[in-house]
Amino acid sequence: MIYEASILPIMLFLIIVVSVLAISILAARKSSSSKDYFAAGGSIPWTVNGIAFAGDYLSAASFLGICGMIAFSGYDGFLYSIGYLAGWVVALFIVAEPMKKLGKYTFTDALDSKFNSKGIQLMAGISTLMVSIFYLIPQMVGAGALVTPLLGLPHYVGVIMVGSIVIFIVATAGMKSTTYVQFIKGSLLIVFSTVLVIFLLNKGLDTNPSDSYHDFKELSAISSSGKITGIKESGYSITGNYQTEKGHFLRLESQNIETWWKVEKDGVKLTETLSIVAARGKEKLYNGAPIEEKRFYSVGHMSKIIVDGKEVKKTGSLGPFKFISTIQDSEVIRFVSSKFSYEDASISLWYQEPTSGEEIMRPGLKFKVDKGSTPLSKLNFVSLMLALFFGTSALPHVLIRYYTVPSARDARKSTILAIVAIGFFYILTLFIGLGAMVNGVLDVESSNMSAPLLARYFGTILFAIISAIAFATVLGTVSGLIVASSGAVAHDLINNYMGIELSDKRKVIIGKIAAVGVGILAIILGILFKGMNVSFLVGWAFAIAASANFPAIIMLLFWKKTTAKGITWSILVGMISAIGIILLSPSMFVKYGLSASSAIIPLDNPGIISIPLSFATLIIVSLVTQKDKTKKSIEKN
């Protein structure tokens, strides 16, 4: 889809950029020590920290990814919201206060607090880096997706731009500037998402989303002996015919433009599709024409609206529950993707799929838990929900925020404020996603753009604000991740593991160098992973955190037989098994250019294997190494 840059979004974007750079420079004047750099001096008020938690956590995955997934797959996208929020309960009730009391700058400090073990320092440092990098990829992908419509720039430019700004934020003042950027961004995101939902409810539902919405045509086929031989309407001729698992498609020529149509079940009705045809050495055609001709439309509408048992064309303003229940009772036209090769060209089609509201508002459109499900597909779903539940409290960039407040009580209070803010936002995601689904704003090429495009439906000003906030969202989260990574390198690995004594000033310098290095790596990965749904990618980061870190944290807190070797091995096994399963998963095989069915491990989400494996490793190794523990204890005494 073609996006045209306009002045207002660019102005707001520049204001955001200048503001965060100014915050960073101001904060840099007040932060000189390593405590300032890695933990904002431990002096952040709990109210600021709570909203900063939200600003840190409500990443591109939450705002862009979840809203996009709901817009394309209905309720299944909302399951991510529920899983992400539920993880905070674990953080509050089990992890928050103990982690605050045991740690100093990084969560490795807390894990290692009883042991002073080189193994823990090394493994926890590496695990922090791995989780942060997996979390960084989707943020950078989201940044690239945003900059295209906002500034009219290519994806890679967006990624480089975000990477550079974030490197500046972190390299100037570390956690202090990061905290205030996250605080401002978290506040703005919640306020303006609420505004967007108010606009949406006030507008209500309409079978014709707007006057400019494309009128998708229907044609009638002429068939003889079960074969389609022509088209009833004049001016169309059949030039291609293809049958896939997903349906029967015809290529029709009219006025020298070739478009693809879906043959409906009755074998007579033909419905218009969206198509992209890419042939080697030829210009890519969007609905039969070059992209500049703007024949590739934004989509998504309601075909039937039922209110209190009566069919209506539009509803007028609706309350929040009525909005959802009306969609449940009605019918929506979704655009479903089908890809195949035809006459040496790669064809991507999006055909109309009338879907009942009941089906949209229950699980099954994305996660294979109902029609066509297998025990394995159900296991895949459970595995994802498990990783989301246990992953939050093991994310290094979330855990380091406990060290920015003065006390354990502040850590607890800031976590509760975060739950309130994040929970409220996640409720909004259902409305934003459904709003995008039915208001003709979807770009079938990029689910990640659904929320900003819904904002554009309500005018340029709201679009500009929401896009600028979404951009700040990426900045805030990426900054937090880079602070966590730089702490892992400078504090955990160089200072503690390698035993290189660093002066306070030197530790900050090393941290800043590490921030630059991780930032550059994030830029490269953000370009390579273009096009993947950001929330799906974040699911992997959660799985690695839940597998590598969570068992170690829980067992350290609740099992007194836990040993240093047990923790070290559980992190290693959890991390390697989670990453290994991801690399051998169907989604990655598609990324390698192979078929999903040829994947060595049929699971996309590793948690259900890697989390228990990590727990089992910790228990077995700890039991085997009890003698070491006793020996050390005797030596100590």
Binding site: A86, M361, D370, F381, F389
Partner: protein, 106 residues
């Protein structure tokens, strides 16, 4: 057996965040575990229905919402309410310990 976490488990290589001994920590830990178990059961039930009997999620409940949305919203609201209750009881216990002259319970 559970471990009581306090400054006694100090780091050998780095000082931990300095705080007074928390006499309310045992109470807070037990309350946290209880609330975690309650929430964990509710969450497990939600995941189980979605995975095993997804058709049940179409059942209509309050406000015209189906079970899928109602249960999802309820999990979010319950997280908020239980968090606020947890803080209320923890703060009350900390204040009680403080009034008894046991540490500052930071």
């Amino acid at each position: 057996m559970l471990i009581i976490i306090h400054r006694g488990y100090n780091m050998l290589h780095e000082p931990v965040a300095q705080s007074e001994k928390d006499y309310a920590s045992d109470y807070k830990r037990k309350l946290g575990i209880k609330l975690f178990i309650v929430y964990g059961v509710l969450y497990a039930g939600f995941v189980a229905i979605n995975a095993l009997i997804p058709g049940k999620m179409e059942t209509r409940t309050l406000f015209g919402l189906n079970l899928a949305v109602f249960y999802g919203f309820s999990l979010i609201l319950f997280a908020i309410i239980s968090g606020l209750l947890y803080n209320y009881f923890c703060t009350k216990e900390e204040n009680k310990q403080r009034s008894m002259g046991k540490g500052d319970n930071k």
